[in-house]
Protein backbone atom coordinates (compact mmCIF):
# COMPACT_ATOMS: atom_id res chain seq x y z
CA UNK A 1 0.00 0.00 0.00
CA UNK A 2 1.35 3.39 -0.97
CA UNK A 3 1.89 5.94 1.79
CA UNK A 4 1.67 8.81 -0.69
CA UNK A 5 -0.90 11.46 0.29
CA UNK A 6 -1.73 14.99 -0.85
CA UNK A 7 -0.14 18.06 0.73
CA UNK A 8 -3.62 19.08 1.96
CA UNK A 9 -4.25 15.72 3.65
CA UNK A 10 -0.78 15.90 5.20
CA UNK A 11 -1.24 19.27 6.89
CA UNK A 12 -4.69 18.24 8.13
CA UNK A 13 -2.87 15.74 10.35
CA UNK A 14 -1.39 18.65 12.34
CA UNK A 15 -3.75 20.05 14.97
CA UNK A 16 -3.72 23.14 17.17
CA UNK A 17 -1.65 22.52 20.30
CA UNK A 18 0.39 19.67 18.79
CA UNK A 19 4.08 19.13 19.42
CA UNK A 20 5.85 19.01 16.05
CA UNK A 21 9.38 17.93 15.22
CA UNK A 22 10.68 19.51 12.03
CA UNK A 23 13.84 18.38 10.26
CA UNK A 24 16.49 20.68 8.82
CA UNK A 25 19.51 22.68 9.85
CA UNK A 26 19.36 26.40 9.12
CA UNK A 27 16.83 25.64 6.37
CA UNK A 28 18.99 22.96 4.72
CA UNK A 29 16.89 19.79 4.63
CA UNK A 30 13.69 21.49 5.75
CA UNK A 31 10.32 20.40 4.29
CA UNK A 32 9.47 23.83 2.87
CA UNK A 33 6.27 22.75 1.05
CA UNK A 34 4.79 21.27 4.22
CA UNK A 35 5.72 24.43 6.12
CA UNK A 36 4.13 26.70 3.53
CA UNK A 37 0.95 24.60 3.55
CA UNK A 38 0.78 24.68 7.36
CA UNK A 39 1.14 28.46 7.33
CA UNK A 40 -1.64 28.70 4.74
CA UNK A 41 -3.84 26.47 6.91
CA UNK A 42 -3.07 28.55 10.00
CA UNK A 43 -2.43 26.02 12.79
CA UNK A 44 -1.63 27.56 16.17
CA UNK A 45 -0.27 26.97 19.70
CA UNK A 46 2.24 24.43 18.45
CA UNK A 47 5.33 23.34 20.34
CA UNK A 48 8.32 23.16 18.01
CA UNK A 49 11.23 20.77 18.39
CA UNK A 50 13.86 21.66 15.80
CA UNK A 51 17.60 22.26 15.64
CA UNK A 52 17.15 26.00 15.06
CA UNK A 53 14.52 28.49 13.93
CA UNK A 54 15.92 29.09 10.45
CA UNK A 55 15.51 32.53 8.91
CA UNK A 56 12.55 34.90 8.75
CA UNK A 57 12.02 33.93 5.10
CA UNK A 58 13.35 30.35 5.02
CA UNK A 59 12.70 27.11 6.87
CA UNK A 60 10.74 26.93 10.13
CA UNK A 61 11.51 30.63 10.60
CA UNK A 62 8.50 31.42 8.44
CA UNK A 63 6.28 29.64 11.00
CA UNK A 64 7.87 31.71 13.78
CA UNK A 65 7.00 34.88 11.88
CA UNK A 66 3.43 33.55 11.45
CA UNK A 67 3.31 33.16 15.29
CA UNK A 68 2.36 29.50 15.19
CA UNK A 69 4.42 28.43 18.22
CA UNK A 70 3.69 28.80 21.93
CA UNK A 71 6.93 27.00 22.78
CA UNK A 72 10.19 26.39 20.92
CA UNK A 73 12.83 23.82 21.85
CA UNK A 74 15.99 24.37 19.78
CA UNK A 75 19.77 24.58 20.03
CA UNK A 76 20.10 27.92 18.24
CA UNK A 77 17.78 30.84 17.48
CA UNK A 78 20.36 33.48 16.53
CA UNK A 79 19.66 33.54 12.79
CA UNK A 80 16.01 34.56 13.25
CA UNK A 81 15.54 37.90 14.98
CA UNK A 82 11.78 37.28 15.32
CA UNK A 83 12.39 34.28 17.61
CA UNK A 84 14.59 36.43 19.84
CA UNK A 85 11.99 39.18 19.90
CA UNK A 86 9.16 36.77 20.83
CA UNK A 87 11.37 35.26 23.53
CA UNK A 88 12.48 38.57 25.09
CA UNK A 89 8.92 39.98 25.01
CA UNK A 90 7.52 36.83 26.62
CA UNK A 91 5.28 35.88 23.67
CA UNK A 92 6.92 32.50 23.10
CA UNK A 93 8.65 30.20 25.56
CA UNK A 94 12.10 29.22 24.27
CA UNK A 95 14.08 26.30 25.70
CA UNK A 96 17.68 26.16 24.47
CA UNK A 97 19.17 22.67 24.30
CA UNK A 98 22.72 21.68 23.27
CA UNK A 99 22.59 20.32 19.72
CA UNK A 100 24.09 16.94 20.49
CA UNK A 101 21.78 16.53 23.47
CA UNK A 102 18.70 17.48 21.43
CA UNK A 103 19.32 14.83 18.78
CA UNK A 104 20.00 12.21 21.48
CA UNK A 105 16.76 13.10 23.32
CA UNK A 106 14.89 12.60 20.04
CA UNK A 107 16.73 9.35 19.35
CA UNK A 108 15.87 8.14 22.88
CA UNK A 109 12.22 9.09 22.35
CA UNK A 110 12.02 7.07 19.18
CA UNK A 111 14.11 4.10 20.21
CA UNK A 112 12.52 3.10 23.49
CA UNK A 113 15.20 4.49 25.78
CA UNK A 114 14.53 6.16 29.13
CA UNK A 115 17.01 8.91 28.36
CA UNK A 116 20.69 9.44 27.72
CA UNK A 117 23.66 10.32 29.93
CA UNK A 118 25.96 13.08 28.71
CA UNK A 119 28.69 15.34 30.07
CA UNK A 120 27.52 18.14 27.78
CA UNK A 121 26.15 21.03 29.85
CA UNK A 122 27.66 20.00 33.21
CA UNK A 123 28.37 23.10 35.29
CA UNK A 124 26.19 25.31 33.06
CA UNK A 125 22.57 26.52 33.11
CA UNK A 126 21.67 23.34 31.18
CA UNK A 127 22.34 21.31 34.35
CA UNK A 128 19.72 23.22 36.36
CA UNK A 129 16.90 21.00 37.62
CA UNK A 130 18.35 17.83 36.11
CA UNK A 131 19.56 14.64 37.72
CA UNK A 132 23.32 14.11 37.78
CA UNK A 133 24.33 10.45 37.78
CA UNK A 134 27.70 9.08 38.84
CA UNK A 135 28.97 6.29 36.58
CA UNK A 136 32.20 4.74 37.87
CA UNK A 137 33.33 8.05 39.34
CA UNK A 138 32.37 10.25 36.37
CA UNK A 139 29.46 12.68 36.42
CA UNK A 140 26.81 12.69 33.69
CA UNK A 141 23.59 14.63 33.15
CA UNK A 142 20.43 12.61 32.65
CA UNK A 143 18.61 13.96 29.59
CA UNK A 144 15.12 12.57 29.13
CA UNK A 145 13.53 11.41 25.87
CA UNK A 146 11.50 13.73 23.65
CA UNK A 147 8.47 12.76 21.57
CA UNK A 148 6.08 14.60 19.29
CA UNK A 149 2.60 14.22 17.83
CA UNK A 150 3.86 14.83 14.31
CA UNK A 151 7.26 14.86 12.61
CA UNK A 152 7.71 16.80 9.37
CA UNK A 153 10.72 15.56 7.45
CA UNK A 154 12.61 16.13 4.22
CA UNK A 155 14.34 13.57 2.01
CA UNK A 156 15.78 13.56 -1.48
CA UNK A 157 14.06 10.33 -2.38
CA UNK A 158 11.37 8.08 -0.95
CA UNK A 159 9.80 4.95 -2.31
CA UNK A 160 6.08 4.36 -1.69
CA UNK A 161 6.92 2.46 1.52
CA UNK A 162 8.75 5.51 2.92
CA UNK A 163 12.28 4.17 2.57
CA UNK A 164 14.40 7.33 2.46
CA UNK A 165 17.68 8.45 0.95
CA UNK A 166 19.38 11.81 1.24
CA UNK A 167 21.69 14.20 -0.54
CA UNK A 168 24.36 16.43 0.96
CA UNK A 169 23.97 17.81 4.47
CA UNK A 170 20.20 17.30 4.59
CA UNK A 171 20.16 14.25 6.88
CA UNK A 172 20.72 16.22 10.10
CA UNK A 173 17.61 15.65 12.29
CA UNK A 174 15.54 14.06 9.49
CA UNK A 175 16.80 10.55 10.16
CA UNK A 176 15.57 10.19 13.77
CA UNK A 177 12.55 12.45 14.19
CA UNK A 178 10.21 10.05 12.40
CA UNK A 179 10.83 7.39 15.01
CA UNK A 180 10.01 9.81 17.84
CA UNK A 181 6.63 11.01 16.53
CA UNK A 182 3.17 9.40 16.50
CA UNK A 183 2.77 10.49 12.88
CA UNK A 184 5.79 10.91 10.58
CA UNK A 185 5.31 12.76 7.30
CA UNK A 186 8.14 13.07 4.79
CA UNK A 187 8.32 15.57 1.96
CA UNK A 188 10.43 13.85 -0.68
CA UNK A 189 11.83 15.61 -3.73
CA UNK A 190 11.28 12.42 -5.66
CA UNK A 191 8.88 9.55 -4.96
CA UNK A 192 9.57 6.22 -6.69
CA UNK A 193 7.78 2.88 -6.89
CA UNK A 194 8.65 0.03 -4.56
CA UNK A 195 11.61 -1.85 -6.00
CA UNK A 196 13.15 1.20 -7.63
CA UNK A 197 15.39 1.91 -4.65
CA UNK A 198 18.32 -0.36 -3.92
CA UNK A 199 18.03 -1.55 -0.29
CA UNK A 200 21.69 -0.53 0.12
CA UNK A 201 20.90 3.12 -0.53
CA UNK A 202 18.13 3.34 2.09
CA UNK A 203 19.26 5.49 5.06
CA UNK A 204 15.95 5.55 6.96
CA UNK A 205 13.79 2.41 6.71
CA UNK A 206 10.17 3.09 5.80
CA UNK A 207 8.98 1.51 9.05
CA UNK A 208 9.37 4.95 10.69
CA UNK A 209 7.42 6.81 8.01
CA UNK A 210 3.61 7.01 7.92
CA UNK A 211 2.93 9.39 5.05
CA UNK A 212 4.78 10.72 2.02
CA UNK A 213 4.19 13.99 0.18
CA UNK A 214 5.69 14.49 -3.26
CA UNK A 215 7.51 17.78 -2.83
CA UNK A 216 9.07 17.98 -6.27
CA UNK A 217 12.49 19.44 -7.00
CA UNK A 218 13.86 22.16 -4.71
Amino acid sequence: MSKLISLEDAVNLVRDGDTVMIGGFLAVGTPERLIEALIAKGVKDLTLICNDTGFVDRGVGKMVVAKMFKKIMASHIGTNRETGRQMLEGETEVVLIPQGTLIEQIRAGGFGLGGVLTKTGLGTAVEKGKTVIDIDGERFLLEKPLRANVALLFAEKSDEKGNLSFHGATRNFNTYMGAAADIAIVEAQQVVRVGEMCPDEVVVPGVFIDHIVDGGAL
Binding site: S75, T124, G168, Y176
Partner: protein, 219 residues
Protein backbone atom coordinates in the same frame (compact mmCIF):
# COMPACT_ATOMS: atom_id res chain seq x y z
CA UNK B 1 48.30 48.97 14.18
CA UNK B 2 46.33 46.22 12.49
CA UNK B 3 42.77 46.90 11.36
CA UNK B 4 40.06 44.44 12.38
CA UNK B 5 40.42 42.23 9.32
CA UNK B 6 44.22 42.10 9.59
CA UNK B 7 43.90 41.30 13.28
CA UNK B 8 41.49 38.43 12.61
CA UNK B 9 43.73 37.03 9.87
CA UNK B 10 46.79 37.33 12.13
CA UNK B 11 44.98 35.34 14.84
CA UNK B 12 43.64 32.76 12.35
CA UNK B 13 47.11 32.29 10.82
CA UNK B 14 48.62 31.57 14.23
CA UNK B 15 45.82 29.14 15.18
CA UNK B 16 46.38 27.26 11.91
CA UNK B 17 49.98 26.53 12.99
CA UNK B 18 48.54 24.49 15.89
CA UNK B 19 46.72 22.04 13.60
CA UNK B 20 48.81 18.91 13.26
CA UNK B 21 49.04 16.56 10.31
CA UNK B 22 46.26 13.98 10.16
CA UNK B 23 43.87 15.70 12.55
CA UNK B 24 40.11 16.23 12.46
CA UNK B 25 39.17 19.81 13.31
CA UNK B 26 35.89 21.64 13.93
CA UNK B 27 35.84 25.40 13.38
CA UNK B 28 33.23 27.66 14.97
CA UNK B 29 31.56 30.44 13.00
CA UNK B 30 33.11 33.89 12.60
CA UNK B 31 36.85 34.32 13.13
CA UNK B 32 37.52 30.57 13.62
CA UNK B 33 36.21 29.86 10.10
CA UNK B 34 39.15 31.86 8.69
CA UNK B 35 41.61 29.32 10.14
CA UNK B 36 40.92 26.95 7.22
CA UNK B 37 42.52 29.50 4.85
CA UNK B 38 45.90 29.34 6.61
CA UNK B 39 46.63 25.63 7.11
CA UNK B 40 50.36 25.25 6.34
CA UNK B 41 51.15 23.75 2.94
CA UNK B 42 51.45 19.97 2.97
CA UNK B 43 49.62 19.45 6.25
CA UNK B 44 46.68 17.05 5.99
CA UNK B 45 43.99 18.63 8.15
CA UNK B 46 40.34 17.55 7.76
CA UNK B 47 37.46 19.75 8.82
CA UNK B 48 34.15 18.61 10.26
CA UNK B 49 30.93 20.57 9.94
CA UNK B 50 28.62 19.59 12.78
CA UNK B 51 25.50 19.83 10.62
CA UNK B 52 26.65 16.60 9.04
CA UNK B 53 29.85 16.10 7.14
CA UNK B 54 33.57 15.60 7.22
CA UNK B 55 35.77 17.03 4.48
CA UNK B 56 34.59 20.64 4.31
CA UNK B 57 36.06 22.33 1.24
CA UNK B 58 36.21 25.93 0.06
CA UNK B 59 33.28 28.05 -1.10
CA UNK B 60 31.74 26.70 -4.33
CA UNK B 61 32.04 28.14 -7.82
CA UNK B 62 28.75 28.98 -9.51
CA UNK B 63 28.67 25.55 -11.17
CA UNK B 64 29.48 23.75 -7.90
CA UNK B 65 26.81 25.57 -5.87
CA UNK B 66 24.45 23.06 -4.23
CA UNK B 67 21.74 24.28 -1.81
CA UNK B 68 22.07 21.01 0.13
CA UNK B 69 25.76 21.55 0.95
CA UNK B 70 26.25 24.34 3.46
CA UNK B 71 28.35 24.61 6.61
CA UNK B 72 27.03 24.95 10.17
CA UNK B 73 26.79 28.70 9.62
CA UNK B 74 24.56 28.20 6.53
CA UNK B 75 27.32 29.36 4.17
CA UNK B 76 27.58 27.39 0.88
CA UNK B 77 30.66 25.15 0.87
CA UNK B 78 31.97 22.12 -1.01
CA UNK B 79 32.90 18.62 0.14
CA UNK B 80 36.37 17.33 -0.68
CA UNK B 81 37.28 13.89 -2.06
CA UNK B 82 37.34 11.41 0.83
CA UNK B 83 34.60 13.29 2.67
CA UNK B 84 31.36 11.85 4.01
CA UNK B 85 27.85 12.98 4.91
CA UNK B 86 26.01 11.83 8.05
CA UNK B 87 23.18 12.81 10.37
CA UNK B 88 23.29 14.82 13.61
CA UNK B 89 23.42 11.75 15.88
CA UNK B 90 26.54 10.53 14.07
CA UNK B 91 27.96 14.04 13.97
CA UNK B 92 27.66 14.53 17.71
CA UNK B 93 28.81 11.00 18.40
CA UNK B 94 31.99 12.04 16.61
CA UNK B 95 32.14 15.20 18.72
CA UNK B 96 31.20 13.90 22.19
CA UNK B 97 33.04 10.64 21.67
CA UNK B 98 36.42 12.37 21.51
CA UNK B 99 36.99 11.80 17.79
CA UNK B 100 37.50 15.50 17.04
CA UNK B 101 41.12 16.42 17.73
CA UNK B 102 40.74 20.19 17.91
CA UNK B 103 37.89 22.65 18.07
CA UNK B 104 38.47 26.35 17.48
CA UNK B 105 35.85 28.65 18.97
CA UNK B 106 35.34 32.32 19.69
CA UNK B 107 34.55 33.49 23.21
CA UNK B 108 32.98 36.35 25.13
CA UNK B 109 34.98 35.48 28.26
CA UNK B 110 37.54 32.88 29.34
CA UNK B 111 38.51 32.29 32.98
CA UNK B 112 41.94 31.30 34.24
CA UNK B 113 40.65 27.79 35.09
CA UNK B 114 39.50 27.25 31.49
CA UNK B 115 35.82 28.09 32.00
CA UNK B 116 34.33 29.68 28.90
CA UNK B 117 31.28 31.86 28.20
CA UNK B 118 30.35 32.23 24.55
CA UNK B 119 26.65 31.65 23.96
CA UNK B 120 24.60 34.36 25.59
CA UNK B 121 24.49 37.83 27.10
CA UNK B 122 21.28 37.64 29.15
CA UNK B 123 18.66 40.15 28.06
CA UNK B 124 20.74 41.29 25.07
CA UNK B 125 21.91 38.43 22.92
CA UNK B 126 20.40 34.96 23.15
CA UNK B 127 21.45 33.01 20.06
CA UNK B 128 21.76 29.68 21.87
CA UNK B 129 24.64 27.28 22.30
CA UNK B 130 24.16 25.31 19.09
CA UNK B 131 26.86 22.64 19.16
CA UNK B 132 29.34 24.60 21.30
CA UNK B 133 28.63 22.82 24.60
CA UNK B 134 29.12 19.41 22.97
CA UNK B 135 32.31 20.52 21.21
CA UNK B 136 33.74 21.93 24.43
CA UNK B 137 33.00 18.77 26.36
CA UNK B 138 34.09 16.33 23.64
CA UNK B 139 36.96 17.74 21.58
CA UNK B 140 40.44 16.61 22.66
CA UNK B 141 41.84 20.15 22.45
CA UNK B 142 39.99 23.46 22.71
CA UNK B 143 41.53 26.57 21.17
CA UNK B 144 39.89 29.95 21.67
CA UNK B 145 40.54 32.42 18.85
CA UNK B 146 39.48 35.93 19.76
CA UNK B 147 40.50 39.55 20.17
CA UNK B 148 42.24 40.05 23.51
CA UNK B 149 39.67 42.55 24.82
CA UNK B 150 36.19 43.70 23.84
CA UNK B 151 37.02 47.33 22.94
CA UNK B 152 39.22 47.48 26.02
CA UNK B 153 36.95 45.51 28.36
CA UNK B 154 38.65 42.39 29.76
CA UNK B 155 37.67 39.04 28.27
CA UNK B 156 40.38 37.01 30.02
CA UNK B 157 39.24 36.92 33.65
CA UNK B 158 39.69 35.25 37.02
CA UNK B 159 36.07 34.12 36.74
CA UNK B 160 33.51 34.48 33.96
CA UNK B 161 30.56 36.74 34.77
CA UNK B 162 28.41 35.59 31.83
CA UNK B 163 26.59 32.22 31.74
CA UNK B 164 29.10 29.44 31.09
CA UNK B 165 29.17 27.31 27.97
CA UNK B 166 31.50 24.81 29.67
CA UNK B 167 33.75 24.46 32.70
CA UNK B 168 37.51 23.77 32.64
CA UNK B 169 37.40 23.35 28.88
CA UNK B 170 39.88 25.75 27.25
CA UNK B 171 43.46 24.65 26.55
CA UNK B 172 44.90 27.48 24.48
CA UNK B 173 43.95 31.10 23.69
CA UNK B 174 45.24 32.93 20.62
CA UNK B 175 44.73 36.70 20.44
CA UNK B 176 46.34 39.56 18.53
CA UNK B 177 48.60 40.14 21.56
CA UNK B 178 49.90 36.65 22.13
CA UNK B 179 49.36 32.96 22.76
CA UNK B 180 48.22 31.92 26.23
CA UNK B 181 48.13 28.45 27.72
CA UNK B 182 45.55 27.63 30.37
CA UNK B 183 47.50 25.78 33.07
CA UNK B 184 46.71 24.58 36.59
CA UNK B 185 48.40 27.78 37.80
CA UNK B 186 46.33 30.00 35.50
CA UNK B 187 47.09 31.91 32.28
CA UNK B 188 50.63 31.45 30.96
CA UNK B 189 51.85 33.70 28.15
CA UNK B 190 53.95 31.49 25.87
CA UNK B 191 54.15 33.78 22.83
CA UNK B 192 54.20 37.55 22.61
CA UNK B 193 53.32 39.70 19.63
CA UNK B 194 56.31 42.10 19.64
CA UNK B 195 53.95 44.95 18.67
CA UNK B 196 52.79 44.91 22.31
CA UNK B 197 54.83 45.22 25.49
CA UNK B 198 54.42 42.73 28.32
CA UNK B 199 52.94 45.54 30.42
CA UNK B 200 50.35 46.23 27.71
CA UNK B 201 49.40 42.54 27.52
CA UNK B 202 49.17 42.27 31.32
CA UNK B 203 47.00 45.41 31.47
CA UNK B 204 44.66 43.93 28.83
CA UNK B 205 44.29 40.71 30.84
CA UNK B 206 41.82 40.65 33.74
CA UNK B 207 43.65 37.90 35.65
CA UNK B 208 47.25 37.25 36.69
CA UNK B 209 49.42 36.46 33.66
CA UNK B 210 52.39 34.18 34.18
CA UNK B 211 55.19 34.86 31.69
CA UNK B 212 56.64 31.59 30.44
CA UNK B 213 60.36 31.13 30.96
CA UNK B 214 60.43 29.95 27.35
CA UNK B 215 58.52 32.97 26.00
CA UNK B 216 58.74 33.13 22.21
CA UNK B 217 57.94 35.76 19.67
CA UNK B 218 54.53 35.31 18.00
CA UNK B 219 54.76 35.07 14.26
Amino acid sequence: MMDKQQMQEFIARRVAQELQDGTLVNLGIGLPTLVANFVPEGRDVTFQSENGFIGVGPAPTEEQLDPCIANAGAMPVTILPGGSFFDSAMSFGIIRGGHVDVTVLGALQVAENGDIANYTIPGKMVPGMGGAMDLLSGAKKVIVAMEHTAKGAHKLLRECTLPLTAINAVDLIVTEMGVIEVSHEGFVLIEQNPDYTLDEIKAATGAPLIISAALRQMA
